[in-house]
Symmetry: D2
Subunit: 346 residues, 4 copies
């Protein structure tokens, strides 16, 4: 009963099998392996972007901060939500990689709102040398609270950015989960909606550790390659990154894995709703934000369930405690059923 | 016939098998996996250092620059040889991670000499605010030219560093190859010889992509953890780094792999010597630096041999051209024999 | 009628005279001038801190960011108010000098409140490697809105910091103005209230361009010297910084200048209140934040008055527009009277 | 008898008088003062460059590193001589401001030679992601050893840079001294010789602390302004930088001051030669590198002479010790004569 994170589960067999298959003979190092050629072609197909520059790194933070650093000068700002991964969970990596750019936080507990973005950009006066200058906008899809921007919402946000000539980065650590939720294409959710560069996640969705960075304008390609190497993120035995991504993309495996994760979450959410749990955000992909009484937490913990939680085990029985439950593809229905069997909110 | 680099071969089966075996069920993320506990214990055994702080990253450059950044302030210097990997092959990653420290190059084409190190340290006047201040010493073992410092040579170098109160980093991308060459223990070649922190290589010696950073003084542990995360080098599905290293260390596999690579190189070197090739450096581990006439290069290239080379294919037949030939564990004797069969220096 | 800033007025004669007097013969460069010895002694007296480390730089931003960089690691945070100069007016210099530390903004339009500071520190979970770690607290006195923390308010803030083992920086660009407002000593307003390092402003209070950085714990001295040089802020002809500060401190000139500025502001505020202006913050030192109708702005502009203003000259006559009026020591009563004569809020 | 440095003397009266004259009334801050308009116009005249972007900072290091940072990416290199001020005397400021670029040192004890520059550039392979990439060339005129590149020598160096599409920076801390030595114009010694950006020194040549950065291509202007502010080098009371530079440029005062300094050095050199001193470099501007026996040093020190020296006062009488003697404009003939009267090399 492991709902702590989608980065705690195993790699999907389709991914692992490609890795094992790749482990034969010699290959050119540093991204010049033949599997990477296949990956590049396939990502361009998936994104309907034949000119895109495509690179692989091993962590989501690396994908985000290397992509952003290509678009933001050290004296500029990155606009993101107050709960964005790049603000909350990357230990100043965006500041490090950008040479000291400033994150301007949009006050929200979930999605960034266009009006708030507009106000934030206007609050960093362009042309005033005392103020950090507007740099780029970063949007997370699926959000850190399990919500999914509709295509219209995405376009409304990127329209604000474009009006101010700002590039847009999409943190797509759960890109496939969002695609499945929206039933749209990768192109719809990226360049067709005004996104300039995507962190296309693999790790949380069934890979071992691989993310693609996809630049729709290949002008940034060489700078990215130098930044990746300088950041110590260029793999010598790159074939093992390529192989993961190849397995992930083959036969739309990434869609299947995400669908399985989302369906697990939907099933879990239905059970929790039926049992009376309160949802802080309406789940749309594979993450649930729910609160329930402390005594239920105690029961679940005793039964071996694992998940993130705000609030301790000690205290009054009925205090509502909020939790985050994440379903990856590998969590079985049996485990969800067991979890629900321990869940009673009277 | 792939002699281009030891980072172009496949992972060793013992390593890959552990990775596959690790791919089951859920594991705590970010280095809290149970396999990492095994790895930590095993590395402390191997290094006879029960207090050592042990971390894994995926690239050799990450190991080097994160380790060095823990010991060097931005206004200090790193002393290293002119041909050091950190100077030549890391695209300013040491400068990036250290916040702008300066590499002070010791003029040598191979090993750093103690007198030259002494002179370089004296040339950065401690206490003079105009000059970058002495920071740390970095030694590569096996050197970038295929040589191996004897334990005495190591101790002579670290003695200079200690006399100036400078910490010592060992770039051990080919640590096991050097151990095999010297027939010494990991402890002999590290803390017993005055080394403070080691980049203990796995990637070039049969792993997919994993290096350990071993601090003999655990005081740097927390700083390293923060630097690793901030550098975007903390893996969420860390079990896949741990599993590689576990397979690598189990039953001294890392020694066996290195021995195989070194023996391949010895066999190749003997054949080349017999055929009249000129050695620029006496090979001691798994790298050969040899020069031979351009027409031999042409023959070898036509036969499909791959290796690094200074000098083009076009030009007079008899011009001597220098090359680097690296043997990994997986290169077969048959391939070496084929290579040698094409090699004729009249 | 120049109320745009206290950095637009001339240097005080006591300051300029010392500069001219210093312009004779040779002096040791880089802070080894004999006038600096006098300055060091005098600042230690003024702050009742015989062990303090004392340095001079030429800009307030340099003082702030060099002081902070000595206390904050790149993976840490600086807690400051949302309107702090270091956040709003220094173009990412704090991020630059700290190597990418993050400013955590306390939501306030003026003073930082202890509860909000406490909440912000608790919101950066110490020991969680994903989150930036708590670093230092920076307080501005006089605040950017013209208010002055009482000694009790200062102590309440530093108590929060101390409870979390965080050092405290005081941005005292208008330190003397605050001392005059509180009628307290420099020691009262700094180390006796829990402050670890002060940017002691000279430029805005009658100098040409000089600020002192005063560390009450001299352990940071050598690091500061290296950071100052590396930041290109170490003056060769340092005597001209020393001389300004010597003239500023002699016979408590800095107090006299600040008193004159504050009295000018009090006089102006009284006139504006009498004329019906609305004060956004109660003025306590030498800055006024007032709003009045657009047509009054038009009249004042036509008469040649200069000051900062939010809102344009075009628009309905009666819209209230907010402005900042700053008095330096040199603004004459006649200019204030002329300004007030143009000011009519019916 | 102060020959330690040209940064130890007083400001020239023409400079100081303008500073005093500027100290009246209010002026717009941050470089918007009216005196800066005059300075900009005058520098464009002096350099015959009507489009040049012109900025002032207070230290030579700031001028150098801010100028270079506009031309060099963090993953690139700066080519300079092994004895360059930016390498030896700026405590890693170039690395700091460039975000970690690497200085590639040309091996020379004085001027950089075109062939050596060519070899160094070829040694940083463009397009190889492992290697730092070629960035910019920095030349010092007057060199740190008191020599002056002829215009032909300058052009030969910049031709190498241009052949590789690299921009050229000139560290002109002693620009005027070199102009006087060559009898050429500022334009001759800068853009007409292929220089892209100049650090035009004032401090060492009779100012209090001011240097101009002159970009012949104004495309870098806005970036420079942001970098200057972010570096904390934008003066609020900028008029005091402007006034120094205005006085320096008025009536070619800068030429007169430099001529006086050079003539002092010529007079001193003649006396030393007559007395049998050995010159390590032929003096061409205002610095002398001479060696003479230790007992002469003792006599001079006893008489109160100050200068830089390699080698201690204790030891055999006749050991030759090398020294640097610098003449500024203010050193009187009487002081030189006194110095020479103590100088006897038998």
């Amino acid at each position: 009963m492991f709902f702590a994170s989608d980065n705690s589960g195993p790699a999907h067999p389709s991914v692992m099998n490609r890795v094992v298959a790749a482990n034969t003979g010699h290959q050119m190092a540093y991204g010049n392996d033949t599997i990477m050629d296949e990956v590049r072609t396939r990502i361009r197909e998936v994104f309907e972007a034949p000119e895109a520059a495509v690179y692989l790194v091993a962590t989501g933070t690396a994908a985000n901060v290397l992509a952003l650093a290509c678009y933001v000068q050290p004296w500029q700002t990155i606009y993101c939500s107050k709960v964005a991964h790049i603000e909350v969970d990357e230990c100043n990596a965006p500041e490090f990689y950008s040479g000291g750019a400033k994150l301007k936080l949009i006050d929200t507990d979930n999605k960034m709102m266009p009006d708030a973005l507009e106000a934030a950009i206007q609050g960093t006066p362009r042309g005033d040398v005392h103020s950090a200058q507007p740099g780029a906008v970063s949007i997370t899809q699926v959000t850190e609270r399990g919500s999914v921007h509709s295509l219209e919402e995405l376009r409304n946000l990127t329209a604000v950015a474009k009006r101010h000539d700002l590039p847009v980065h999409l943190d797509g650590a759960r890109f496939a989960n969002a695609m499945v939720a929206l039933g749209c294409s990768a192109a719809d959710m990226s360049w067709k909606s005004g996104v300039d560069v995507v962190s296309f996640g693999g790790t949380k969705n069934g890979c071992m550790g691989v993310e693609a960075v996809v630049f729709f304008d290949p002008a940034k390609a060489w700078e990215f390659e130098l930044r990746r190497k300088r950041g110590a993120h260029l793999f010598s035995k790159h074939r093992f990154l390529s192989a993961q991504m190849a397995g992930y993309l083959e036969d739309d495996t990434f869609i299947q894995i995400a669908r399985q994760a989302n369906e697990n979450a939907t099933y879990l959410a239905a059970g929790l709703k039926a049992a009376g749990a309160t949802f802080l955000h309406e789940p749309q992909a594979n993450m649930l934000f729910v609160s329930f009484p402390r005594r239920v937490h105690r029961t679940l913990a005793a039964a071996g369930a694992r998940y993130e939680r705000h609030g301790g085990m000690e205290g009054p029985d009925d205090t509502l405690i909020s939790s985050r439950l994440v379903c990856d593809w590998s969590i079985g229905r049996d485990q969800i059923d067991t979890f629900l069997s321990h869940f009673q909110v009277p």
